[in-house]
């Protein structure tokens, strides 16, 4: 309750020790490119879906690293697999393949 007209923002700090990163580690094993991303954002800048849906491969990877999987899936639902991000990645990451691998690993886990 705030009688002041403003309130304390919830902390955005994350404790990586309490997050289960096993699926992200499995992803890095199968798709080593996941660890090569330097978060430059070229993929997000070129993504035709990002402007109206918020899709961003860079953010998806960061969310998975930080255990925010639901947020990542919400974004990935908007991916059209057009492959533009693959063409612009300065690290040569096959982002299209990466997205499909993420779907495979995380989907498999959810069906267990």
């Amino acid at each position: 309750m705030s009688i002041f007209g403003f309130r304390i923002s919830p902390s955005s700090a994350m404790n990586l020790d309490t997050i289960d990163r096993s699926r992200f580690e499995e992803l890095c094993r199968i798709e080593p490119d996941a660890a090569r991303c330097m978060s430059c954002g070229a993929c997000s800048a070129t993504c035709p879906a990002s402007e109206f849906s918020g899709m961003s491969v860079r953010k998806v990877l960061l969310c998975l690293q930080r255990g925010k999987e639901e947020e990542a899936f919400r974004m990935m639902n908007n991916c059209m697999l057009c492959g533009k991000c693959t063409m612009v990645c300065p690290r040569g990451i096959n982002t299209r393949h990466l997205i499909l691998s993420i779907c495979r690993i995380y989907d498999k886990e959810d069906k267990r």
Partner: protein, 356 residues
């Protein structure tokens, strides 16, 4: 890193502060927030240490708040500052000391800008002449007033009646030092110790007997940030910053906080009340808050001045538990007596934050 390399880096962040003859300019807001601080600075420097400090009633704001709030262009702030320098020149001084951190940052930024763009300095000189027929010399040395107390810290320690230690067991008090962002984050070489290891307040604490607490968010902003607090829609950011700092320092059980900025003591002090009202949480012992003092107030306390003459009754967080811990005598009945024992009225007491 080799030791000599470290020494060299550290030496870049030391200041050769002149000992005497200062032109002193006050802060716009400190006199309202903590009115005893600047008076105590003058009292200590002039009467206790016998230094030459000059101040004039003609000086104005430095324009820093308006500049940082984007309501005036920098040229306007520069002309205001040029006028202050003209007052210093007229008074025959060459060393300029500002009481406010934002002023210090503003003066530093302007002097550096003039150094890089001399044509701008010429333009400002012309504007000042057109506006008020004044001319100025740039100060030979620019300091913040905490630099001077830092320089005089050992002289103050020699004359001190009290030390920052627990009178019961002789243990040093655990003190949090908080440096204003505009002190050295913009121009690290202008502050004692630079931006990462500013030593200006830590040096005072060590000289006066306390222990400095190193906690994770030590260099975090207090949350004032002009565009955060002054815009009500953003005020939650200001509070959240302070909240983050208190959450970080809480496990170290600080006895007090020392600051050298006009805004920081105010917000670290008053937001404790707001946090207590919003979340029911207090950060000091037994339901009290953590007292937040300016360095002049702490200097005054160790020198044995009456806490109520220092204006400590105007703090939101009760300072009495701290005074009791150090062993400083005070008269509880005189807390709300002003000059000539005039009653200045008692404030209403908060529900969650314990106060007297």
């Amino acid at each position: 890193m080799i030791y000599q390399g470290k020494q060299k880096i550290w030496s870049d962040y030391q200041k050769e502060i002149p000992d005497d003859h200062w032109f002193y300019v006050r802060s716009c807001i400190r006199q309202n927030f903590f009115p005893g601080s600047e008076r105590m600075m003058m009292e200590i420097c002039r009467n206790v240490l016998g230094k030459d400090f000059y101040e004039t009633e003609h000086h104005t704001t430095c324009g820093g708040i308006a500049y940082h709030c984007d309501t005036i262009p920098q040229e306007t702030a520069m002309t205001i500052v040029a006028r202050q320098f003209a007052l210093m020149t007229e008074a025959g001084y060459e060393n300029y000391v500002a009481s406010c951190i934002t002023s210090f940052g503003n003066y530093t930024e302007i002097l550096e800008t003039w150094h890089e763009f001399p044509e701008l300095e010429a333009k400002i000189r012309e504007m000042l002449w057109k506006a008020c027929r004044k001319e100025f010399n740039k100060p030979k040395y620019l300091a913040h007033s905490s630099d001077l107390i830092y320089k005089y810290r050992n002289d103050i320690a020699e004359k001190a009646r009290f030390r920052l230690v627990d009178k019961e067991n002789g243990e040093p008090l655990r003190v949090v030092e908080h440096i204003g962002c505009h002190y050295s984050k913009m121009f690290p070489s202008k502050g004692v110790g630079g931006a990462e290891y500013p030593y200006v307040l830590a040096g005072m604490i060590e000289s006066w007997g306390g222990n400095v607490i190193d906690y994770p968010e030590r260099r975090h902003c207090c949350g004032y940030g002009f565009r955060q607090y002054h815009v009500k829609a953003n005020r939650g950011y200001s509070l959240s910053n302070t909240h983050k700092k208190f959450e970080s320092m809480e496990p170290y059980k600080p006895d007090m906080i020392i600051t050298n900025c006009p805004g920081c003591p105010y917000f670290l002090d008053r937001w404790q009340y707001v946090i207590a009202e919003m979340e029911g949480k207090t950060y000091g012992q037994n339901g009290y808050g953590i007292p937040v003092l300016t360095y002049e107030e702490v200097a005054g306390l160790v020198l044995g001045y009456d806490p109520w003459d220092l204006g400590l009754q105007l703090h939101q967080v009760a300072v009495e538990p701290l005074l009791d811990k150090i062993g400083i005598e005070y008269c509880a009945e005189d807390k709300y007596k002003g000059l000539n024992r005039k009653d200045i009225m008692r404030p209403g007491l908060p529900e969650n934050l314990k106060c007297f």
